[in-house]
Symmetry: C2
Subunit: 298 residues, 2 copies
């Protein structure tokens, strides 16, 4: 009995350690499942979102709303008969000449932050947007909306939203690093061109479509598709002598979406102020990489 | 003393419970920080990766290697003097005509899966790549590598990798949904064009750069930049009468990267087989959305 009374404290300690250990273990199991799925990214998601490339990690669906995936429905099944593809071929010499001319034209494109207030014909902008709309897209979903703003009041509201966020970005969120990285481009948070440019084109990616019955339609690779479409838009603008600034307004998306009354399935990808270059426009003296730095032939 | 010996077991129990509780708490603090950063996405990451738009969730850095962020260094600070921007303006009527002509040309572009084996002059391809290289990019990092493959053996190895993965994708990973979505395009996992097309252009995005001293260089918005560049490449190919298939080979990236001996900072974004259309090429009879479906004017 004396022995037992001496041992009791030790038994109690052992018992408590066992209980403590079990508590810790149970906590571990609770927390590791979300944590590890965050760490291994692709693997556990592969089944629920099989169209997402495990390597590429395209954000086909809004990552914040994965629980809504169940609502996704199949694309409308349409019968698309095959038709002959009629191409306009060129003789080799013409091809070579056209390839050189197009390179020369596109190589003159620069990001120009000094835009003239001079009016630009609406039809030219419409044609540029139509051209952007010829881009390929995942499963031909055409997941883009181009909001063209020429109303001065709306342009000014856009400027206020962008400048306020940019100022916060520069002064608070960004480290010295980011500010130094951009110093060479002499940008700051004053974006006069947002008032001055005759048009602001706000490019939205539709992270999913909406069918007439309200169900969602998957938009495969929507960000890549819309970015390709922007590339074609830049080519179309350059082709008519207009300039722009390819900007991705940091953290302004939700505010601008609300201002422009776009639905929740659209997210701002790019903001392009468009117009003629100002007569005294300047650009930083940048070089582009030579062919051997960007191309490998096998 | 007797009282103390009676109380000892209770004291030991209380002490152990306190220790156990503290252990649980410390585990909690350890695990919640990665978990919550995964859940609230942008907010806690804003400090470590301030250039990532909280809304857009661009994968500027390889998400799998966030612990390596510490190695990221500033972009080289160069002095870029401002130089006058010399533009080639056009009269309004010419602009309008050019915008129409370019739209007509681009609107004829189609994804063509029937490619002729006929040889295409190398210089035309070089000029198309040069044109793609005129795209804008985050902080002018030009984060692209275009691997142009004309070697038949390498093309065949690429085909084998892509077809094997595609077959797995179609039969195992994909649900009925995905297969049905693509049925209308009559694609399957046989990609004859990967052998037949005179060129395969494999477009890699550089998820970061590497400085001469081995340090990493941040590539802001690299996926968007490279996709824009692909849009311009598609325009350049269409401009000379060549066709392609804008494909994003699902899960083949790592194997193709190794086959083509590309460094680990490069990830495959797109694979474009390029050539003349086969004389009997067909395309699905698809329509593009009209202007009022893709554009909003304010």
């Amino acid at each position: 009995m004396a022995l037992l009374s001496v041992l009791t404290p030790f038994l109690a300690v052992v018992l408590c350690l066992v209980i403590g250990f079990m508590l810790v273990r149970s906590r571990e199991t609770e927390t590791t499942s979300p944590t590890s799925s965050g760490e291994t990214a692709g693997a556990p998601k592969a089944d629920s979102r099989p169209w997402v490339d495990q390597d590429l990690q395209d954000d086909t669906e809004d990552k914040g709303n994965e629980d809504e995936d169940d609502d996704l429905v199949d694309n409308e099944e349409e019968d698309h008969p095959q038709v002959p593809y009629s191409a306009s071929g060129y003789p080799e010499e013409t091809m070579l000449e056209r390839s050189k001319d197009f390179y020369t034209l596109m190589n003159q494109r620069r990001t120009v932050r000094f835009i003239s207030p001079e009016l630009v014909p609406r039809e030219v902008i419409n044609n540029a947007i139509l051209t952007a709309g010829t881009a390929p897209s995942g499963a031909h979903t055409e997941p883009w909306t181009f909001v063209v703003v020429s109303d001065p009041e709306t342009k000014h509201q856009i400027r206020q939203i962008v400048e306020k966020e940019e100022e916060v970005n520069y002064l608070q969120r960004m480290g010295v690093k980011w500010v130094e990285d951009l110093t060479k481009f002499r940008t700051n948070w004053i974006k006069e061109y947002l008032d001055v440019a005759p048009y602001l084109i706000l490019v939205f990616k539709q992270i999913h479509g909406i069918l007439p019955n309200g169900k969602k339609l998957t938009h495969y690779y929507n960000e890549i598709s819309v970015s390709i479409s922007c590339g074609i838009l830049l080519a179309a603008l350059q082709n008519v002598g207009l300039v722009t600034v390819t900007s991705t307004p940091l953290n302004c998306g939700p505010q601008l979406r609300l201002l422009l009354k776009r639905p929740a399935n659209e997210k701002l990808l790019m903001l392009l102020p468009v117009g003629y270059p100002a007569c005294d426009a300047t650009v930083p003296q940048l070089k582009r990489k030579p062919l051997y730095d960007i191309m490998v032939h096998i």
